[in-house]
């Protein structure tokens, strides 16, 4: 135990580890805030679809030779999020079919571009890093860290400021519209935030594992808590703890960061599931 603590103390001295922990916590917090809304609106899988779009955009940015790819990736992901999340319009391809189409399409185009116009000698390494995160959270530049912090702050501010509207839209969009809420504008806002969270979370867990970061904390919290506010708060706390624990375990044991965080999320879900069962048993 003391050996682990010594190791942790040693690694925490590295600026890159401190940066990774800060950014990781912020990303986990943001993704969990949106997770509750997305799960309740039956959009759990949208994170997966959008992350593949972000992967495609990242490949385009690499091919074009952009040194800072985040603005382009953010813009493309936001546009896709708006297209996927707009509701009540006469789209010919709807729901999960649209998500699946955009998801696999972007993934295929991204991978094709990376192979046809390779920017480094290690295409498989680049793809692997983008899909699974690898150690990208530990290798962020100062600019990326700053951008992550700003985006996280914006996401949190928007969520807190528009909490009531998000709540209304999550549970009954028709009622919200009937009471004068500009639902399309708020849906657009949610889409933009989701896009920002996806782009942020790609750094932490990679594009294939983003959904886990969005849905696990929300689903775990829903096993135990029943109100929107308590589920959101619990989800945020749980997500931060899991991300921190996952990152520390991965740093100490040398396992991949993204998958370690997701495994911790799975364990937390199992624990909350059991607690939920016990609670129901006690009530009966």
């Amino acid at each position: 135990m003391s050996e682990i603590m010594e190791k942790l103390y040693f690694y925490i001295q590295f600026p890159m580890v401190r940066k990774a922990l800060i950014v990781g916590v912020l990303i986990a917090l943001c993704s969990s805030l949106l997770g509750v809304t997305l799960v309740l609106k039956r959009f759990s899988f949208i994170g997966d679809g959008l992350s593949h779009v972000a992967f495609g955009a990242m490949a385009v940015a690499a091919v074009v030779g952009l040194t800072n790819n985040m603005p382009l990736v953010l813009a493309v992901t936001a546009i896709s999020a708006i297209l996927l999340l707009r509701t009540g319009t006469n789209t010919r391809i709807k729901g999960d079919a649209a998500v699946a189409m955009i998801s696999v399409g972007a993934l295929a185009v991204g991978y094709l571009l990376m192979n046809v116009f390779p920017k480094s000698g290690n295409v498989s390494g680049d793809v692997c890093t983008t899909l699974f995160g690898s150690t990208s959270i530990l290798t962020l530049s100062k600019k990326e860290v700053l951008l992550c912090i700003i985006l996280s702050a914006v996401v949190m501010a928007v969520f807190v400021l528009f909490y009531n509207k998000v709540f209304a839209l999550t549970f009954d969009e028709d009622f919200a519209r009937a009471t004068g809420t500009r639902t399309s504008a708020y849906n657009l806002l949610i889409a933009m935030i989701v896009a920002a969270v996806i782009v942020l979370a790609m750094n932490l867990v990679g594009s294939l594992l983003i959904s886990a970061l969005v849905i696990f904390p929300a689903l775990s919290s829903m096993r135990v808590f029943k109100t929107f506010r308590s589920v959101t708060v619990c989800s945020a706390v749980l997500s931060v703890i899991c991300a921190l624990l996952g990152m520390l375990v991965s740093i100490v044991t040398g396992t991949p960061v993204g998958s370690t965080i997701v495994v911790v999320d799975i364990f937390s879900f199992l624990i909350f599931y059991l607690i939920g069962l016990l609670k129901e048993g006690v009530k009966k």
Partner: protein, 180 residues
């Protein structure tokens, strides 16, 4: 009012977290930064006895083994995640490492280019798809391939971190390196 309080708390959290990251870059690796020559001179009792042994080691007779040479950054004692991150940081913030003595363990690799070969210590990352590597330049020039280890042989290398420019691009390497 509640929202303003929440926002203020969030802002304070972000500022507090940011201030943590601003702490002294490279602090972890700044203890006793002697140059590699100082260390190697301490370690070597004389170059006259420096011979390759039959197992292909480059640490000559009368020298301390690489394991005994003190270094500023010992990649051999880090987990693979941290090795990848640290090697990546060599390229992002090379100024933090110039003059530091660095030790790495991996497999021997070489890029054979017209006019110059680039000798590498190639490590593996946790996902196994990215292979961080450090270039090194041996203290005493040797002929390739005869006097170098075979490709993919496990090696430990120690040397002084430096940057150099080639075709207008910045690269980094471990100079005055020893391997075994």
């Amino acid at each position: 009012m509640k929202r303003i309080l929440c926002l203020s708390a969030a802002a304070a959290l972000v500022v507090a977290l940011c201030s943590c990251s601003a702490v002294d870059n490279g602090k972890a690796s700044r203890s006793g930064a002697k140059t590699v020559n100082d260390v190697l001179n301490e370690a070597q009792s004389g170059d006259s006895g420096k011979t390759d042994n039959s197992e292909g080691e480059f640490v000559g007779d009368g020298e301390k083994s690489i394991a005994d040479i003190k270094c500023d950054i010992d990649l051999t004692k880090m987990e693979s995640n941290m090795v990848t991150a640290t090697v990546n940081d060599f390229y992002i913030n090379p100024e933090n490492y110039i003059g530091k003595i660095i030790k790495a363990h991996g497999t021997f690799g070489v890029y054979e280019m017209p006019g110059r070969n680039y000798y590498l210590c190639v490590m593996t990352d946790p996902t196994g798809c990215c292979s961080p590597s450090v270039e090194f330049l041996l203290k005493n020039e040797r002929k390739y391939p005869g006097e170098y280890p075979a490709m993919d042989t496990e090696i430990t290398v120690i040397g002084e971190f430096e940057t150099y420019f080639e075709d207008g691009k910045k690269y980094c390497q471990l100079k005055d390196a020893l391997i075994n």
